[in-house]
């Protein structure tokens, strides 16, 4: 699975167009990866989607990694996986986020799949997506405290689900919408 640099079309295109915002690139096990600056995420994502040479029409996956136990700063990494059906390529874009300021621009308007992925990422890691129109928890319930996939969230912590009173309130029959 060795890939030479000349084959990394997207990496070289990004390096040419955004010379200052590409922090690092690698191709471990054939997965083309670029690490970019947080403030250029929107323009790079737009470029990846719309440029003829890239045309990544599909956002395959969006998630985060917590590197607390590796003592890495910045602590969080956002990971985006894109797929180009036209060119049959994949790319991974990573953005590093500080613990103190873990917010990033939402790419909500670029792919429709982003909405729930960002909600899940917010739910699990507490990363705030600026300009996301509906940033609520998705897998956990609203009363849940903390963000379970953070490494400092204890495995065995238990949280009571809800007060009985609130359940009764919610199921009280109300005709108005």
């Amino acid at each position: 699975m060795t890939t030479t640099d000349s084959e990394l079309v997207t990496t070289s295109l990004l390096k040419k167009n955004f010379p200052k915002s590409i922090l690092e690139t690698h191709c471990h096990r054939g997965d083309e990866t670029v690490v970019i600056d947080r403030k250029d995420l929107l323009s790079i994502c737009e470029f990846l989607r719309d440029d003829e040479g890239c045309s990544y029409e599909m956002l395959v996956d969006l998630t985060a990694v917590d590197l607390l136990e590796q003592n890495r700063t910045p602590r969080f990494e956002m990971v985006y996986h894109f797929k180009s059906l036209r060119h049959g390529k994949r790319i991974r874009v990573k953005v590093r986020l500080d613990e103190q300021d873990c917010s990033i621009d939402s790419i909500y308007h670029l792919w429709k799949a982003v909405d729930w992925y960002e909600r899940e990422c917010f739910d699990m890691y507490g990363i705030h997506f600026n300009n996301h129109p509906d940033l609520r928890r998705i897998l956990m319930y609203d009363q849940f405290e903390g963000h379970p996939l953070r490494k400092d969230y204890p495995m065995d912590r238990q949280q009571p689900i809800e007060e009985l009173r609130e359940i009764e309130e919610r199921y009280h029959y109300q005709r108005d919408v």
């Binding site: 096990r29 590197l67 136990e69 990971v79 897998l139 919408v177």
Partner: protein, 408 residues
């Protein structure tokens, strides 16, 4: 007015007074509803019977798969993956193990890969049979559910012969499989496949040109190619929209590049197209299994790479390397080298991708599974708004939502 009518009318809520916006009715469908395939809730807004708004709520089956995995050893994650898409557990086993193998940079022996292809395709057939059977039952064709479940049972018995369990298979290991196929397996396989083919032909005759069925599913849940791509659709859902994207062909893994198969596509992306695509994929999977069975090479089913598998007992008791390897694997577990990989595989209802991050210590840093049906449920409002409330049932049936995979 008779007494009975008076009594009846007192039970019915009086119509809303005034011109306030009371024509929209809010109905909660699910979470505990037979058509909700497990547990998902749709808050539906209706104007008469027309759906004008919908909001899915998920998370009822969230078990913390990723958290559990990140607090386990690498090999301990394999049984957890059975519980993701529990209709085709082998495909999850294979996807995860191949991702770890990619992290190591090794490949399983060819016999193991061919066995994986056979078992994976059996799982894909069971997945599609469940989806088509359940979806047709919900629109009234109860016979097909029973027949398809019967066909699924034949295949699950095969799975049981090889792995020892029908659902909780826990079959793959890093660099190979836990068990080889037993003696006489191929005869049983061919016999079962013939039975499944017969059932398929019969059901095809009864259902594909059945007017009652077509009326319920044709032009229902239509989805455009562009929207499907933007929503991240994969698998049969995307192919029904007319995009010939199949991970087995687009990013070939295992030995799929040596096997000849076709990718069925639809045209409009409605529920009928999804049904047709799944039916054809079952036939293609049968053909893949037959080809792989013919090509099955002899040889080992486990890699001979050190620190990947438990050494033979002869090695453990006979020489020092075997003993040390055994000790290190038991005490420290697998230690994939530092790095990160994403491996996409074609699951039962779309692309299953495992994103793994290792720091070389033996404890996973990140185990992320890309759920295929996450995007489908997200797109449910886009698919249902503008349809009638009865159309939710065929649309949601064709989506093939699996709670274990959706909520993880």
């Amino acid at each position: 007015m008779s007494l009975a009518t008076q009594q009846l009318s007192s039970l019915v809520t009086p119509p809303p007074q005034g011109d306030s916006d009371t024509s929209i009715m809010k109905i909660e469908i699910g979470p505990s509803h037979p058509a909700m395939h497990g547990i998902v809730r749709f808050t539906t807004y209706l104007d008469g019977e027309l759906i004008v708004g919908m909001e899915p709520e998920i998370g009822y089956l969230h078990r913390g798969f990723e958290k559990e995995s990140e607090n386990s050893k690498w090999i301990q994650v394999v049984p957890y993956t059975d519980r993701l898409n529990y209709v085709s557990p082998l495909l999850n086993n294979i996807g995860y193990s191949m991702a770890v193998e990619k992290l190591y940079g090794i490949e399983a022996p060819r016999r193991a890969e061919f066995t994986r292809v056979i078992m994976g395709e059996i799982s894909r057939i069971t997945d599609h049979l469940t989806c088509v059977g359940a979806a047709s039952m919900e629109v009234g064709a109860f016979t097909f559910f029973l027949w398809f479940i019967k066909a699924r049972e034949y295949l699950w018995e095969l799975v049981e012969e090889v792995t020892g369990a029908r659902l909780t298979t826990n079959w793959t290991r890093f660099g190979g499989n836990a068990t080889d196929i037993p003696d006489g397996f191929f005869d049983a396989l061919q016999e079962r496949l013939d039975k499944v083919k017969d059932i398929m032909d019969e059901c095809d005759k009864l259902l594909t040109r059945n007017k009652i069925f077509i009326d319920r599913v044709k032009d229902v849940g239509t989805f455009s190619k562009e929207d499907a791509i933007s929503f991240g659709f994969t698998g049969p859902m995307l192919r029904a929209c007319g995009v010939p994207y199949d991970v087995r062909r687009a990013d070939p893994y295992s030995v799929y590049d040596e096997i000849d198969f076709e990718i069925p596509i639809g045209s409009t992306g409605d529920c009928f197209d999804r049904y047709l695509v799944r039916m054809e994929e079952i036939r293609q999977s049968i053909s893949i299994i037959e080809q792989a069975a013919d090509m099955m090479p002899a040889g080992p089913i486990m890699t001979d790479e050190r620190l990947m598998h438990y050494p033979d007992k002869k090695e453990v008791y006979g020489n020092i390397e075997g003993l040390i390897d055994h000790f290190k694997l038991v005490m420290e577990g697998h230690q994939p080298p530092e790095g990160e990989v994403y491996l996409p595989t074609e699951g039962g209802n779309g692309e299953i991708g495992f994103y793994l991050v290792s720091d070389g210590s033996g404890d996973p840093v990140r185990v992320r599974m890309r759920p295929a049906c996450f995007n489908y449920v997200e797109a449910m409002p886009a698919m249902t708004v503008g349809h009638y409330v009865a159309d939710i049932v065929p649309i949601f049936g064709s989506v093939n939502m699996i709670g274990g995979e959706l909520d993880r």
